[in-house]
């Protein structure tokens, strides 16, 4: 690709990105907003490809446009598609956004030119990775894999642990968990028989059983309420 072609693609992608961003802000339909956010991710992935960061683009397309869109849709199925009307004036948020954006744009003045060989990022360890990884790590042509897997093995281990922690957190907050062994309802304890479904529990015990909590607080066992 020639230089002008690259710039043309950049401009088209950035314009589409800006249009999508404004559309996300303006729409009051959350379903539309989620789909547009997925398109936003896909456009960013395109930009990453233009910048030769294919690994990042891959992740952005798979996670940003794929999985997180599905998770957002799953959330919308729970909370509904309508955004409630704003309860406050948008002046203060607008001010904060404009100031932050202004600072970021001001900061770009100091950023070294894109792809410059003398950029600080290329002066530190990157040269070592590109030059010596063949000898140190072996024949792995994708240096990104060598860096992520071996040179920065601790970082990737931390990331894996963070992903695992995310699962634990979400499960603690959202998961329904196993059914309780016994439940306190209408002043006494009931043993939950094997084979009872959650729907049976809700039908029998109403709010005490559902939808998500386990055993409600009842009197202490020693007070004779326990049947176990």
């Amino acid at each position: 690709m020639t230089e002008t072609m690259v710039q043309l693609v950049d401009v088209v992608l950035l314009v589409l990105l800006a249009i999508t961003g404004i559309a996300v802000i303006r729409t009051r339909n959350l379903f539309v907003a989620v789909m547009l956010a997925g398109i936003y991710s896909l456009l960013s992935a395109g930009l990453f490809v233009v910048m030769d960061a294919v690994d990042v683009a891959f992740t952005e397309a798979a996670v940003g446009a794929g999985i997180s869109t599905v998770l957002m849709l799953g959330t919308l199925a729970l909370v509904g598609y309508k955004e409630s009307a704003p309860t406050h004036k948008p002046i203060l948020p607008l001010f904060v956004v404009l100031v932050t954006g202004g600072i970021l744009v001001y900061g770009t003045a100091e950023i070294p030119p894109f792809g410059g060989a003398d950029n600080p990022a290329h002066k530190h360890v990157a040269a070592h990775y590109i030059h010596d990884s063949e000898e140190e790590i072996g024949h792995i042509p994708n240096v990104v894999t060598s860096v992520l897997g071996s040179y920065r093995g601790y970082d990737t281990m931390g990331e894996t642990a963070v992903i695992f922690t995310a699962m634990v957190g979400v499960l603690l907050l959202l998961s329904r968990g196993p059914l309780p062994k016994r439940i306190f309802h209408a002043g006494q304890w009931h043993t939950v028989k094997a084979g009872t479904t959650r729907e049976d529990m809700v039908a029998k015990f109403g709010g005490d059983a559902g939808p998500d909590e386990t055993v409600k607080d009842g009197p202490a066992r020693t007070e004779g309420g326990a049947d176990g």
Binding site: F58, I67, L78, A161, I163, F164, L171
Partner: protein
């Protein structure tokens, strides 16, 4: 009977290819873009697609939530296992050069070490993505 024929048949045809593509991304990560993280997401996407088309109940029969939770934890164990293995072989934690015998070419250790930890990342990301999807999709709608 469900009449979304194109969706159902399309999903059935696509699913195995998505899974194979995930494995391609996994094992081709040494040579091109890709790796454990992307492969795990794509692998999970096949199950998410299945759940979206055939319903959560059928998906849970194919892939019980418990298996997803165990995968999410096992990947971290695999990753740490590779690290500890290289430690017990005389190197530092996560220094894969020591995975094989001392007279062996250390780059072989590096190569297999990276394959090992990428496998760990794949398993964790796959398990977590499926578990997250189940956690969101398994809840009932809250009507206020």
């Amino acid at each position: 009977m469900d009449d979304r024929v194109i969706l159902r048949i399309g999903t059935k045809i696509l699913s195995p290819f998505i899974l194979i593509f995930a494995l391609y991304v996994q094992f081709h990560g040494d040579y091109g873009p890709g790796g454990g993280f992307q492969a795990g997401v794509i692998f999970a996407a096949a199950f998410v697609l299945y759940a979206l088309v055939f319903g959560l109940g059928n998906a849970i029969k194919v892939m019980p939530p418990k298996v997803a939770y165990i995968c999410g934890a096992m990947g971290v164990v695999i990753y740490l296992g590779v690290g500890y293995l290289s430690m017990f072989r005389g190197g530092e934690f996560l220094n894969y050069s020591y995975l094989f015998d001392p007279e062996h070419d250390p780059t072989h250790g590096q190569h297999y070490g990276i394959i090992g930890i990428e496998l760990g990342v794949l398993v964790t990301v796959f398990g977590v993505m499926v578990a997250l999807f189940y956690a969101f999709a398994g809840r009932r709608r809250i009507d206020t």
